[in-house]
Subunit: 412 residues, 2 copies
């Protein structure tokens, strides 16, 4: 087997934890596997370096920020290689410019273009563990780049794709992907398997286990990802494509997600003619405000209400922009509601199952929870509710869709 | 003018000091100079990283040690580039692999083979300050290497040589090269100029201002080095070849150096036949013991005494090896004297001046100081004396050779 293992910052936070990583790597080598290890910076290091940069400049030069913060991963890769050699396991560290992980030149958020696998493969063939610094690459000019927060996940999946690895294991401080946030619903259950699409919806909605780009990449190249804890031997969660090995039929819904950091803005009685929505959302995008849910209600008498949510930190700014916009386009007014939560159910099975939406609405109605906005995609259904009901909504939906621990007799 | 400036660890120890470095760089740019800056790691960082490695392995893998410790310089170069851009001075950082400072593969003590100057020169032509990480390079395989302690001095001189810079300025925490150690003789005087050869003797004898390799390199490529403090505006000391601009005639001796960290060992009555010295010094070198002074006294009755000094930390080990050796080669015995100091006078003018040696011996005799061993080179004369007389010897010689502050009316 060729295995790519990625360890996050908490897994390499100190020398003792690095020793544990080395032990795990060696246990794979002893089974005869070829192992590529991808590491993040030691916990806290990236922030420490960034704070140095910010103490000089609120908006430090981004090329130089990448030069600065890529050192964090360089340090961990060297330390693990030293540890492995100390434990008599042949190993070699490689930086982005040594592997040649070539990216575009979008400093601090670069995207991988190509990975040269020849030197990597040659080192593996010599029986060495190759320890690659995550998060970093190099552009065509030879400048150092980084892939953005969580970028080491993407490095790992990209390497796994390039090397056609059998599996990409992501070691983190949680033991897998859960049906919902265990802090919101104590009956949350670890999933044995989840599809790429479901994981994409779960990740973007707040189940922050994997960087979303890494899941997109894994889907594109069909790289199976196993999310595991580095602090034990749990089986973890396999993120893979839907297929024969998955019995998705029994459970239609994979998880329930919850986001209480949004605010809802309604622009009332917008004239119902072409170009209105474009004006509104261009103004927001010009102000660098990211819009999440967008709902345009049925129009009445040539007027329509446009509802959207933004992150709570952008709410005041978005509200002001909309007040001006309302005057300009002849809308009746703007209202803001910061007291909301967004609750979503995610599941690839949804699309082929009738009655999922009506069941969700019924569950919420039974609890006396009023729905303020609804959006749907093929595998996700989101409802905006009053924030005080958010947690209750998650718990009720989790139970109603058969996700609670007690009700599951066998694994999915 | 094309100027290469190197700043040591204390000059970039924190953000405020990095700001001062940026101010100085900008003042040169405003005069129209092209500037290349070479930086060390922030003070203490290299040791911090090394201690991490040593906490894993007493003898950590050297390739990986270089990967690890080269990050210190990468951090400082990025921070200075961020600072310069914040102060509206266009700048770009470059690592060893980006400049392509190509070295051999002797990890932790690599030697520079070639420097590609094209990208560097292109950046300078764009009006940018180029901030190069000192101490690091890359070998033919693309592995990261480092040049050994003080290696940033060598980086700076090598860049100055490659770019044919007008001057290489080395900023440090002292304001120049002194005639002797000011803590031993308070009348020590800063030299305005010193020749490469004198500086080589001064550096190796304990005036630890410049890495000795950087001086060798500067001599080879005739790069003028100006040693200055980064904490003020002193004129510093120019290290250059002897020539028309130097009036070396007036002062024959450039400085007096002092080393009290050696021990003297005498192997007595060694049979005076070929191969004896080779046997003795091969045994020491096999034990990785570095020998400094070697004196073979005139032989009497086919027997000769061989005297040498080693660092005090190696003294016990060297003594034991010599005891065995004495038996093997039929010498009479071995004696050790740890209570010594080595005092030397250095000066390019010595060779053409009669009477320097006799004057030195007379000065010491006048103070009642007995000389235990003498060695000479073309520009250096060293005497081993009892350690309690070391400081007195330095002060007396400093005065006798006209180096005291008060006696100098005009600069050399």
């Amino acid at each position: 087997m060729l295995v790519v293992q990625k360890y996050g910052g908490t897994s390499v936070a100190d020398v003792d934890r690095i020793r544990n990583v080395a032990k795990r790597v060696i246990s794979y080598r002893e089974k005869g596997d070829k192992v590529v290890v991808v590491l993040s910076a030691m916990a806290g290091e990236t922030d420490k370096l960034l704070n140095l940069a910010y103490s000089i400049d609120k908006f430090p030069d981004e090329r130089e920020v990448d030069v600065l913060i890529s050192t964090g991963e360089q340090v961990s890769s060297a330390l693990l290689a030293i540890m492995l050699k100390n434990m008599l396991c042949d190993a070699v560290s490689m930086q982005g410019h040594q592997v040649r992980i070539v990216t575009d030149s979008s400093y601090t958020k670069a995207r991988i273009a190509t990975i040269e696998k020849d030197r990597l493969a040659a080192e593996l063939d010599k029986g060495r563990v190759v320890v690659v610094s995550g998060f970093q690459g190099i552009d065509e000019k030879g400048d150092i780049t980084t892939l953005g927060r969580g970028g080491s996940d993407t490095t790992a999946v990209a390497l796994a794709a390039a090397l056609q690895a059998d599996i990409c294991e992501i070691y983190t401080d949680v033991d897998g992907v859960y049906t919902t946030d265990p802090s919101v619903c104590h009956k949350a259950r670890r999933l044995d398997k989840i599809s790429y699409d479901e994981m994409l919806e779960m990740a973007s909605l707040g189940a922050k286990v994997l960087q979303i780009r890494s899941v997109e990449l894994a889907k594109k190249y069909n790289v199976p990802i196993l999310v595991k804890t580095s602090f034990g031997d749990g089986p973890g969660t396999l993120v893979c494509k839907e297929g024969a090995t998955m019995s998705m039929e029994k459970v239609v819904i994979a998880g329930v997600t919850y986001n209480k950091n949004e605010a809802k803005i309604v622009v009332r009685k917008v004239p119902d003619k072409p170009g209105m929505a474009a004006k509104i959302f261009t103004a927001l995008s010009d102000a660098k405000i990211v819009v999440d849910v967008i709902v345009q209600n049925v129009s009445k008498k040539d007027k329509t209400d446009i509802t959207f949510t933004v992150s709570r930190t952008d709410a005041k700014k978005a509200y002001k922009i909309m007040e001006e916009m309302a005057k300009k386009i002849g809308a009746a007014g703007v209202s803001i509601d910061e007291d909301i939560a967004k609750v979503s159910i995610v599941g690839s099975g949804m699309i082929s199952h009738a009655g999922i939406a009506s069941k969700m609405f019924a569950v919420l109605a039974d609890e006396g929870i009023n729905i303020k906005a609804i959006t749907t995609s093929e595998i996700k259904l989101s409802c905006v509710v009053e924030s005080k009901y958010g947690q209750l909504a998650v718990q009720s939906l989790h139970k109603a869709f058969g996700l609670d621990k007690e009700e599951i007799k066998e694994e999915m």
